[in-house]
């Protein structure tokens, strides 16, 4: 899949913009602060409905305007196309349009356009909080499974409700306003979230090992492991006929979740908050048995992150049967020559790629000759050369 036309209105520092990227490599060159990453942010938002950096969606709205709009014409491999549009407004937040028709929910946008983003901030995947790794999982899975997006939203809602009940019970020890009911809601949706995270990391781990071996020259082994806060061990899934059509991973997660929650019930009431569940999960990354965050070398950490991103790319490709759009934000300068050329090798001719950089020197001439170059200056694309 590729983006044939991209339009922005009042998005970050873009007043109005329309570009027609090439289906192959697109290089966005310009000085820092001129809006290169904002373009990638808009594409990513069309794919995931989320920004990769803003804490609030309304941050993307240009100052003095009521709303920001991003629009893309997406072309699929069979030649058909689809228009996707997302509007972030100060008042009623986010809305989406698909082929011009307003979607019932913004989440309906998921799965129309797929994108993988890689930028300097992604080092958080290694040395950041577990929340960064959960976010990585969530955004990757949600792109392939709209149901996951909904399960996750329902899980968070029941978690918030349950926490309100726990706070109430902490403050009035004699009172139980239906904790069991919210526990049930939380485990129902939470187990569905865990089931998908198991399946995702299983696949991802295999792809990441391969990508890491390729990038690092096959010397070390990367291990990616899902660590649910419950401590359930993933077992090989049983055939669905044996479990009455319900996934055995779901059932196992649900049983463990119930047992663990019963065990910590008193502590949860005392603290007034939910202590275990998908909101406390983590992803463990280790290289040759050593935890990745303990690594001294920045280079190795970057290789781990890049491997995860390439694995995510292939995972999306496998799941949806078409290549996602690759968004590489200012990563060329951080990689050594060898890894840089391996990365370019991976994306060249395979998918539509957008790369931002401050100068073109980091690109080999033969790569540059087949790329479309956009010069970004102060919220405008000044010249286009190809």
């Amino acid at each position: 899949m590729y983006i044939r036309r991209l339009c922005l209105a009042h998005f970050r520092n873009y007043e109005l913009l329309e570009i027609r990227p090439s289906p192959g490599l697109n290089v966005l060159v310009g000085e820092n602060g001129h809006g290169k990453s904002n373009l990638l942010e808009a594409i990513y938002m069309l794919a995931t409905t989320k920004s990769f950096r803003a804490t609030r969606d309304t941050d993307v709205i240009q100052k003095g305007n009521p709303d920001a709009v991003a629009f893309a014409e997406v072309v699929f491999d069979d030649g058909s196309s689809c228009d996707v549009e997302v509007t972030v407004s100060r008042e009623d937040r986010k809305s989406a349009r698909i082929n011009g028709a307003r979607a019932d929910r913004v989440l309906d946008l998921l799965g129309m356009l797929n994108a993988v983003f890689f930028g300097a901030l992604d080092l958080r995947l290694i040395n950041g909080e577990p929340s960064a790794r959960r976010r990585y999982m969530d955004l990757a899975i949600a792109q392939t499974s709209p149901k996951y997006g909904r399960d996750l939203a329902a899980f968070r809602r029941s978690l918030d409700q349950r926490n309100s009940v726990l706070r109430e019970m902490r403050d009035n020890p004699e009172y139980d306003p239906g904790l069991d009911v919210w526990t049930d809601q939380m485990t129902t949706h939470g187990s569905a979230v865990m089931e998908r995270r198991f399946a995702f990391t299983d696949e991802l781990a295999k792809l990441a090992v391969k990508a890491y071996a390729e990038l690092s020259g096959k010397r070390e082994k990367l291990v990616v492991r899902y660590e649910p806060s419950l401590g359930v061990e993933p077992e090989p899934p049983l055939p669905l006929e044996k479990t009455g059509g319900v996934s055995s991973v779901y059932l196992a997660a649900r049983v463990c979740y119930d047992i663990e929650l019963a065990r910590v019930r008193e502590i949860e009431i005392r603290r007034g908050t939910s202590l275990i569940g998908p909101h406390r999960d983590d992803l463990r990354l280790s290289v040759d048995g050593m935890e990745a965050r303990a690594f001294a070398s920045q280079g190795q950490q970057r290789t781990v992150v890049l491997s995860l991103k390439l694995a995510e790319f292939e995972y999306l490709e496998q799941c949806v049967g078409r290549s996602p759009v690759m968004l590489l934000d200012d990563v060329m300068s951080d990689l050594d020559d060898d890894r840089r050329s391996r990365l370019l090798q991976r994306v060249r001719g395979k998918c539509q790629t957008f790369i931002t950089c401050t100068n073109l020197r980091s690109f080999p001439q033969e790569v540059l000759s087949e790329a479309t170059v956009f010069v970004v200056r102060d919220g405008a694309i000044e010249t286009v050369t190809s």
């Binding site: 019932d104 929910r105 309906d108 709209p146 149901k147 809602r157 309100s164 306003p177 239906g178 069991d180």
Partner: protein, 199 residues
């Protein structure tokens, strides 16, 4: 506001407080009322006053009613052994329009939502229990919305009522009938797939 005559501004201000009515609609409605024959405008004003004066909660089912006990609860032809529990009076109207439910109703006036301070005690659940205690109810149909809060409220009721020997059922959710599959929203299709039936 300077351009409006003062009574007109007051009317627009009052209309704007209504749900679904923004400044533009409020202005349009206000001008319309101003141009109406006086009798029609007074009929509207009287209807507003009367709805406040004459409508109260039915003491049995807590739907809005003109009398102490509403017409549905008084109707001898209704099946007294089945009670359909709804969150809001408008849900009752939606079900009643179908003519398929011949039993009685009970209006909770909301769903449980601890985050918003709505605990079970704030709903008409205690009244439902008292009612069940004094009647020969065999089945309670829970017709709350299929949302996290609607589901939780249904579950809360079933945990409360099942030990009393009452059958508790829940409305099914699935594809809208007579409509195209590709017009159904994703959540509906996902749920319909999840709850598919063998034929």
């Amino acid at each position: 506001m300077l351009a409006y005559a003062r009574p007109l501004a007051r009317l627009i201000g009052e209309l704007e407080k209504l749900p679904g009515i923004g400044p533009k609609s409020a202005q349009r409605v206000a001008y319309h009322i101003l141009r109406m024959p006086k009798s029609a405008a007074l009929a509207l004003a009287e209807a507003i006053a009367e709805v406040q004066e004459a409508v109260r909660f039915c003491s049995v089912c807590f739907n809005f009613s003109e009398d102490e006990v509403c017409s549905i609860c008084r109707d001898p032809r209704r099946n007294k052994t089945t009670i359909c529990v709804v969150a809001e009076p408008r849900d009752l109207i939606a079900i009643e329009k179908t003519g398929e439910h011949r039993g009685l109703y009970h209006v909770l006036h909301g769903v449980i939502s601890p985050q918003d301070g709505i605990m079970p005690e704030q709903l008409r659940i205690r009244e439902l229990l008292q009612r069940l205690d004094q009647s020969e109810t065999a089945e309670v149909i829970v017709a709350t919305n299929p949302t996290v809060e609607g589901d939780a409220t249904a579950l809360y009721l079933s945990k409360l009522l099942k030990p009393l020997g009452i059958k508790v059922t829940r409305l099914a959710h699935g594809l809208p009938l007579g409509a195209d599959l590709d017009y159904a929203d994703q959540a509906t299709i996902i749920s319909a797939l999840q709850w598919r039936r063998e034929m």
